[in-house]
């Protein structure tokens, strides 16, 4: 898939400080070993089925299907993973690698907090020390996740530099890593960063697509017409898309349009003209940057999509037309959450809801012979503070105010 230095066409690579070269060499070596060892996949998928609940279901969304009157809609239920998102797949896989490498400490960046919770969880289970870097802005919007990370024994460090979101947390994690790589592995949370991360994270996440493909063939005896995933760094999208390399299946990635593509306040790298190719955080891809190469502020209601870069593998797919990229605004996303809750009793994470919003836009135009699969990368419980605010729930506000009074 990638060449030796992890290039996908012109994208990817490993733009790493010299101090990390040996660490990456060792990581690549170990990763190659496990990737080529079929018994490793067995170990990995056993772990995922014993500790998380894989295979996750592929739920037929009967009511949504009826509502749109077009394609049959299926939902891949990554929300049912332990810790509530697809992030668990990647993290547990890397945990096994860390064990093999004999390291005793893990660090990670986190945006939505899901990857942080997943990493803290993995660390507790494997007995690793754990430090999580999280932009200060995200610490605020995802406080419940911070609480759980800390309770699981992790140290959460709010990053107060830069734009104080996901990208800044990644920088901080690298700064930790270049100091502590002897005993520390950096559990990158998405299919970005220097080689071998895009390939490695996609490898672990491919469990999503493998399962989904088998499930839809069992249920329907044919492949879907389109598959939808939200795109932050791109790991859940890669996970799903990798199961459907067929020409007949259209892969659609949905990015965050924030307040709207025209406002500049968004996080769309592939479907907006605002991003250009660059090199940062160790890899080459489309970045939201200015003409000097300085990264821009991004915005999304979903902390996990609020990121400047995107998987080099997706950039390549975009370039080759192997996947289509769309976007959904904060508002469309909230509407999609509401509709999905009311119709199916399912609460997508705000990140995942981008995929729902994208799919909803297209479902009606397809026929009942068509099938679409939406990747529900996570559950929305974690977003209660954001969702309650977005919905403007007065009872929630009252509740919080009363709670605050108790704390006086």
């Amino acid at each position: 898939m990638s060449n030796d230095r992890g290039y996908y066409g012109e994208f990817g690579g490993a733009f790493i400080p010299e101090i990390l070269v040996a660490t990456f060499d060792e990581l690549i070596r170990q990763f190659r070993k496990v990737k080529d060892d079929p018994s490793f996949w067995q170990t990995y998928s056993d772990l995922m089925s014993n500790y998380s609940c894989r295979p996750t279901p592929l739920t037929f969304a009967e009511n949504l299907t009826r509502h749109f009157g077009g394609a049959k809609i299926y939902i891949k239920r990554e929300d049912l993973n332990h810790t509530g998102a697809h992030k668990a797949n990647n993290v547990m896989g890397q945990g096994l690698l860390v064990q093999r490498m004999g390291k005793t400490r893990v660090i990670a960046e986190t945006g939505a907090g899901q990857h942080g919770v997943a990493t803290a969880t993995m660390a507790a289970k494997f007995g690793f020390e754990c430090t999580i870097y999280m932009g200060e802005v995200d610490v605020k919007r995802q406080r419940p996740n911070v609480f759980w990370m800390e309770q699981m024994g992790a140290t959460v460090i709010p990053v107060t530099d830069g734009t104080r979101i996901l990208k800044d947390a990644i920088n901080e994690a690298f700064r930790d890593w270049v100091t502590n790589m002897d005993n520390t592995h950096y559990v990158l949370g998405t299919a970005c960063g220097p080689h071998p991360f895009p390939e490695m994270v996609s490898f672990f996440q491919s469990i999503i697509g493998k399962e989904a493909r088998q499930q839809i063939l069992e249920l329907e005896g044919k492949l879907p017409t389109r598959v939808f995933a939200c795109v932050g760094g791109g790991s859940n999208a890669m996970g799903l898309f990798s199961g459907f390399p067929d020409n007949s299946v259209e892969c659609v990635g949905v990015e965050a349009a924030g307040y709207g593509l025209h406002t500049g306040q968004h996080a769309s790298r592939l479907c907006s003209p605002d991003a250009t190719v660059g090199v940062a955080q160790g890899y080459k891809t489309y970045f939201l940057q200015n003409d000097d190469g300085q990264m821009k502020e991004t915005h999304s209601i979903a902390a996990g999509l609020d990121y400047i870069g995107v998987s080099p593998i997706l950039s390549r797919m975009h370039q080759k037309g192997e996947a289509r990229f769309e976007s959904a605004t904060d508002k469309e996303v909230i509407d999609a959450v509401k509709l999905t809750m009311k119709k199916e009793g399912i609460i997508p994470a705000l990140e995942s809801a981008h995929a729902f919003a994208g799919a909803f836009r297209e479902a009606a135009e397809l026929s009942s012979d068509d099938i679409i699969i939406i990747n529900q990368s996570g559950r929305g419980d974690k977003d209660i503070f954001t969702i309650a605010d977005a919905f403007g729930d007065p009872k929630w506000r009252e509740f919080i105010k009363e709670k605050a009074l108790d704390y006086k």
Binding site: R5, G13, A14, F15, I16, P17, E18, I19, L20, V21, A22, T23, D161, G162, K167, N171, F174, R175, V178, T179, N180, M181, D182, T276, V277, G278, V279, A280, Q281, G282, K284, F287, Q289, D291, D292, G293, Q294, M295
Partner: protein, 252 residues
């Protein structure tokens, strides 16, 4: 020619001194004054860091300086102008230090050509390993500029030789793991490392990361050709003002 300059200078000095500034921090004017102080105090080379929004290899001091400079509106074009200014006013070699995206977005070829125009002698790009830097290396060398590459305590002998073959001017040795600006214990434990560096390159050796006082430099004498002071001068400017820089350097 950087190598020659270094070798020539070493005839009269036991060790050379390279200092570092972030262009535009705490302001463009201040940057100019700091350079002036440094040159007056006898510094041999100066790194001009073009600020970048994601300075992954830099520690808190330089990171904040990068951010502040960008907030104040420093542009890449402004940094070239600044470089032109200082290289025409002061008769020591100036190098650019920055991250690869700055070159990439500018166009590597044009960037290098403009470096020549403004009189910059070489560049240090900490996130550009030689494997990723072919285009850059070629452009630099064909324009007679020095691509400065880095040795680290984790670099193998074989790799040092490879890196050395890509670099020109001198080699930058990280004295330790980590980011810029943290303390390093300069002690005999490092002897072996510096010997290894020496063994694997014929280029002069600059040692940086954590060099901040006379004792550090005294230790490096005989082991390195250049001592690099990075975060410490920024810290000094933050705490005591620009005026303190000259005396600090003279004291080293």
């Amino acid at each position: 020619m950087l190598k020659k300059y270094i070798q020539k200078s070493l005839k009269t000095k036991e060790i050379l001194l390279m200092t570092h500034i972030v262009v535009g921090y705490p302001s463009l004017d201040a940057s100019m004054k700091i350079v002036e102080e440094m040159v007056k105090a006898g510094v041999d080379l100066i790194e001009l860091q073009i600020p970048f929004s994601e300075p992954m290899a830099d520690g808190p001091v330089i990171l904040k300086a990068n951010q502040k400079s960008l907030e104040l509106g420093t542009t890449v074009k402004g940094c070239f102008e600044f470089a032109q200014n200082v290289s025409s006013r002061f008769d020591i070699p100036f190098l650019f230090m920055t991250y690869y995206n700055i070159l990439y977005k500018y166009g590597v070829q044009s960037f290098v050509e403009d470096m020549v125009k403004v009189g910059i002698k070489g560049a240090i790009i900490p996130d550009l390993p030689p494997e990723e830097g072919l285009e850059y290396e070629e452009a630099m060398k064909s324009n007679n500029l020095c691509p400065i590459y880095i040795f680290s305590p984790t670099t193998t002998d074989e790799r040092m030789r490879y890196i050395s073959s890509c670099g020109k001017g001198f080699i930058y040795c990280m004295a330790r793991k980590g980011v810029t600006g943290k303390t390093t214990q300069f002690s005999n434990e490092l002897d072996e490392y510096f010997e290894k560096c020496r063994k694997n390159t014929s280029l002069p050796l600059a040692v940086g990361f954590g060099v901040k006082e006379k004792a550090d430099i005294d230790y490096l004498k005989g082991k390195a050709d250049i001592a690099v002071i990075g975060s410490q001068t920024i810290r000094l400017v933050d705490e005591k003002g620009i005026e303190a820089v000259g005396d600090f350097i003279k004291g080293l």
